[in-house]
């Protein structure tokens, strides 16, 4: 009996080995294209096969009963099927795999927004691109000028977006307000941003119709995201023709501290680069920056960012208006502190909070006169994000900005112009994804200004629809308010906020290597500040009766793969803008607007030379100016603007340390660009209003930098 039993068991085992089932078939995607390489197998067994180049597979199994067949392929949803292996000796299967959700990228609301980031795979610019764009000279705002929608305003250096003035672009750092993002500026001289691009891992630049989270900006916002927790100790020293820099980073398990400082002086540079300005004191400055990052708990991040700057410069300014050469000395100090804390609160809630403090002091000495300006800003912001479900996200928050301004003028007497404003704002925004292809965002923002005694409530709307695997169509619009500039508020605090409305339509095609984007927009301005004459002191000379409009088309094309080892982008903007504001007698094109703007940026790595080369070409068509020698208003035009800038980055070893040599040449072809003209207030003996052209302080500029990693 026992023997029979054992024999029987062995027989059964043997039988199962010999009684094999043949499983074969074909694997395709939903469009019937074969998927070679698909892994088709019976779960919990070694039995299976890989689909060949035509999608065919075939394998034998000795298994019995009901088994689960699995087919997996990267980028596709796993396929599962119960097979009854006892039902037949051969089985032929046609397997169709669906693309996985990760493969089908979700629609993203992006009308008006350009994003630079190191984290995301598909973004328009990376911070490295910003740092190596030659025309930008290491300035974030300079790099933004190579994007469509931004005007070239060479004598200013700030960002002018879509027919808007520079103050209409508001800057943020980790979502917190920066009230003085630019260095203090001499008359007719370009300025630059305070912050080095190396401090940031990303920038969100929106040229219109942005989220309700951001207010007090008529045209545009720039939100710079500081680096996250550093993971490596490092130090570096840089020596430049314009000064020296040093930085160091120390890391702990859940925290990092970075310190950097620089001393900048253009004394040597002003000798190398022939100046068109009569400097009495070459621009010089010292900066210090501190960044502390601390991870708290599983999801919390606590960040402290602090920077201080002191700078000074002096020049003889030929004031054409008055016909007097003025001796100007500018001293300025600035401190910015920012502290944010973000964390998840459970699974579905997130908190974002922050404090920011900005102090700015500027002292202008004009011959014997003096103008001193102090600005203090303090902001508290609190925001919650709630993921209601997979499709719906609610964001809401509030912020309070306390801003005080004081100008002291000593000019044949002492004058004091102070004002304080408390701006209290709240916002809510609901993002709803109807499907993977269609998303909408509805938002509202309420703002109350204590100084202007005004409350505004505005809607913001946007929607995006995917038109293909890599393309999408977006629409966005909304209303935007901003308080008048400090230079008007100090005289006329009774003014109301200025108002703009945006409508933006975008189509974008984007893969990891290529981006094409076309955006059309309509923009209307109302309640712009108007006055009878510049620097009028009577509050009643100012009113909110100005208006304006701008419409245009922005194009962007970037390609990182078609040309070998090269990367290039092309931006083109066409704009039609008119304004009747300030002391304009009629509606006219403002002086900072050029109808056509073009930027071409080309970058290439030359491996045998260990050199990374970048070239920028910028073009802007004529800008209008007012010539009092002729009748009419804004009756003349400048020559078009051209610039070719070059930078070379050479990687080398110095004293056994990894080093970089960086050479920047601005306006290599030496174009004599004239941005506009200053006219005298009174005609000369011949009855002619004399003029002087407004130009760059230098024709060409060469800067050399050597950086050593310690």
């Amino acid at each position: 009996m026992r023997t029979i039993f054992i024999i029987l068991v062995f027989f059964l085992i043997q039988a199962s080995i010999f009684a094999q089932v043949q499983v074969s078939g074909k694997v395709t995607d939903s469009r019937n294209a074969p998927l070679p390489g698909t892994n088709v197998f019976l779960k919990d067994s070694y039995d299976g096969a890989t689909a060949d180049s035509l999608g065919h597979f075939s394998f034998k199994t000795g298994l019995k009963g009901i088994r689960q067949l699995s087919a997996t392929f990267i980028g596709y949803k796993p396929f599962l099927l119960n097979l009854d292996l006892d039902s037949a000796r051969t089985m032929v299967l046609n397997i169709v795999l669906d693309e996985s959700d990760a493969q089908i990228s979700e629609v993203v609301i992006n009308a008006g927004a350009f994003e630079a980031s190191d984290k995301k795979k598909a973004v328009i610019l990376k911070m490295f691109d910003v740092a190596t764009t030659p025309s930008a000279q290491g300035d974030i705002f300079g790099a933004l000028c190579t994007l469509p929608g931004v005007q070239k305003v060479g004598e200013d250096g700030r960002v002018f977006v879509r027919g808007g003035e520079s103050y209409e672009t508001q800057s943020f750092l980790d979502g917190m307000l920066v009230s003085t993002p630019y260095l203090s500026k001499m008359p007719d001289m370009p300025t630059r941003g305070r912050f080095s691009p190396l401090l940031f891992s990303g920038t969100l630049f929106s040229t219109g119709a942005y989220s309700a989270e951001f207010g007090q900006a008529l045209s545009s916002i720039v939100d710079m995201k500081t680096n996250s927790l550093e993971t490596e100790d490092k130090s570096s020293i840089s020596i430049m023709t314009v000064g020296a820099m040093a930085s160091t980073t120390k890391c702990w398990k859940n925290a990092s501290l970075s310190l950097s400082g620089d001393f900048l002086t253009s004394g040597l540079s002003n000798v190398i680069n022939k100046q068109q300005v009569d400097w009495t004191k070459s621009p010089a400055g010292v900066d210090g920056t501190l960044m502390y990052r601390q991870k708290t708990g599983k999801t919390g991040m606590f960040k402290v960012f602090g920077t201080l700057n002191h700078s000074s410069s002096g020049m003889i300014y030929p004031n054409t208006q008055t016909g007097i050469k003025q001796d100007i000395l500018l001293n300025s100090s600035n401190v910015y502190l920012n502290n944010t804390y973000n964390s998840m609160l459970g699974e579905k809630w997130m908190i974002k909070s922050g404090l920011a403090w900005n102090y700015d002091h500027q002292k202008f000495d004009l011959d014997k006169d003096r103008i001193g300006t102090n600005q203090k800003m303090f902001q508290v912001k609190l925001q919650f994000i709630h993921n209601i479900n997979e499709q719906t996200e609610l964001k809401f928050g509030a912020d309070w900005v306390n801003f005080s301004y004081e100008q002291n003028i000593r000019m044949g007497g002492n004058y004091r112009l102070p004002f304080t404003n408390n701006e209290l704002s709240g916002f809510a925004e609901l993002e709803y994804k109807l499907s993977k292809k269609f998303a909408t965002r509805l938002g509202a923002r309420i703002e109350n200004s204590s100084l202007l005694s005004e409350t505004t409530l505005v809607p913001r709307l946007s929607a995006a629809y995917k038109t293909g695997n890599h393309s999408q169509f977006s629409l966005a619009g909304g209303y935007f308010y901003q308080n008048p500039e400090n230079d008007y508020l100090k005289f006329a605090p009774q003014l109301k906020p200025e108002k703009a409305s945006h409508a933006v339509m975008t189509w974008q095609y984007q893969t990891e290597q290529k981006t094409f984007r076309v955006e059309g927009y309509l923009k209307k301005y109302a309640d712009l500040v108007k006055f009878s004459q510049p620097l009028a002191t009577n509050p009643l000379d100012y009113s909110n009766t100005g208006s304006g409009h701008a419409e245009g088309i922005d194009l962007f094309w970037r390609d990182k793969e078609s040309l070998n080892l090269s990367d290039y982008w092309i931006s083109y903007s066409w704009i039609n803008a008119r304004r009747n504001y300030k002391d304009y007698p009629v509606s006219a094109i403002p002086t900072y607007v050029s109808e056509h703007n073009l930027s071409v940026v080309y970058k290439r790595f030359f491996e045998p030379l260990r050199t990374y080369a970048s070239v920028t070409y910028s073009f802007a068509s004529s800008r209008p100016f007012h010539d009092p020698n002729f009748s009419g208003f804004m009756n003349a035009k400048t020559q078009p603007y051209n610039d070719i800038s070059l930078s070379l980055t050479y990687i080398m070893e110095m004293f056994g340390k990894q080093s970089v040599m960086h050479l920047m040449v601005n306006n290599i072809a030496g174009f004599d660009n004239v941005y506009g003209y200053n006219f005298s207030k009174t005609p000369n003996a011949a009855g002619k209003y004399e003029s002087t052209p407004i130009k760059s302080p230098f024709v060409r500029q060469i800067i050399l930098l050597v950086s050593i990693m310690l």
Binding site: G37, D47, T50, I74, I651, E653, Q658, S659
Partner: protein, 216 residues
């Protein structure tokens, strides 16, 4: 009765033996094929085999190690950057699963260090700065766990060889590293028959090539 139970025990033992033997056999065959593979389809086929094995042998890190290794090899050959990233995501997935089984295995940290260079080649300018330190961290950890892991030396030598001389790379700087790796390979004994034991021949070939170049 006693005999019956004995028979049953021995029968069970033989079944377990069969499955263990099947694992050994499947792994040995697959590893052999893996190191003979040259094309992407060949590597995919082997990766699939390891995936099937890993589905059963959930307590073993080796099938996932080799599946991950296969996908890294595929990524080196794949010209399309987007696909390359997806293969590396797959490789990382297996590596993470293997790490979950044994986080203190030197070979797994070595493989992590081997994965990063492929990621870097997709976008060297941007990813290099971020991932080079990560790679070094993984290799340091691998050496901490096994100071004699020859593959860590081999990878460091290869990275040095392909780096510009300005960064302390090039043939002259790589030569002593290849020699050190060669010595480590000579004394290396894999823990089991299935344990990672690759790189020796490649290291010898590189060493020979460099020595020839240096003589000229």
């Amino acid at each position: 009765m006693k005999t019956l139970s004995l028979t049953l025990v021995s029968l069970l033992a033989s079944i377990i033996g069969i499955s263990n033997e099947a694992y050994q056999k499947a792994m040995t065959e697959s590893i052999e094929k893996l190191f003979q593979a040259t094309t992407i389809p060949e590597y995919v086929e082997i990766a699939n085999q390891f995936e099937r094995i890993s589905n059963i042998e959930k307590a073993e890190w080796l099938p996932m190690y080799y599946a991950s290794y296969s996908y890294i090899m595929i990524s080196f050959q794949e010209p399309d950057n987007a696909k390359k990233d997806r293969f590396l995501d797959q490789a990382q997935k297996y590596l993470d699963q293997a790490m979950a089984i044994d986080a203190n295995e030197s070979e797994l940290h070595m493989l992590q260090g081997f994965l990063y260079p492929s990621r870097i080649t997709i976008d060297p300018m941007n990813r290099g700065m971020e991932l080079m330190p990560e790679m070094n961290k993984s290799l340091d950890k691998a050496l901490e766990l096994n100071p004699d892991n020859p593959r860590v030396y081999f990878l460091r030598a290869t990275m040095t060889f392909h780096m510009p001389e300005a960064y302390g790379g090039g043939a002259a700087n790589a030569l002593p590293l290849y020699q050190a790796a060669d010595e480590k390979f000579r004394i290396f004994k894999p823990k089991t028959e299935l344990s990672p034991n690759w790189g020796k021949e490649a290291n010898e070939a590189e060493l020979k090539k460099i020595q020839e170049v240096m003589q000229k």
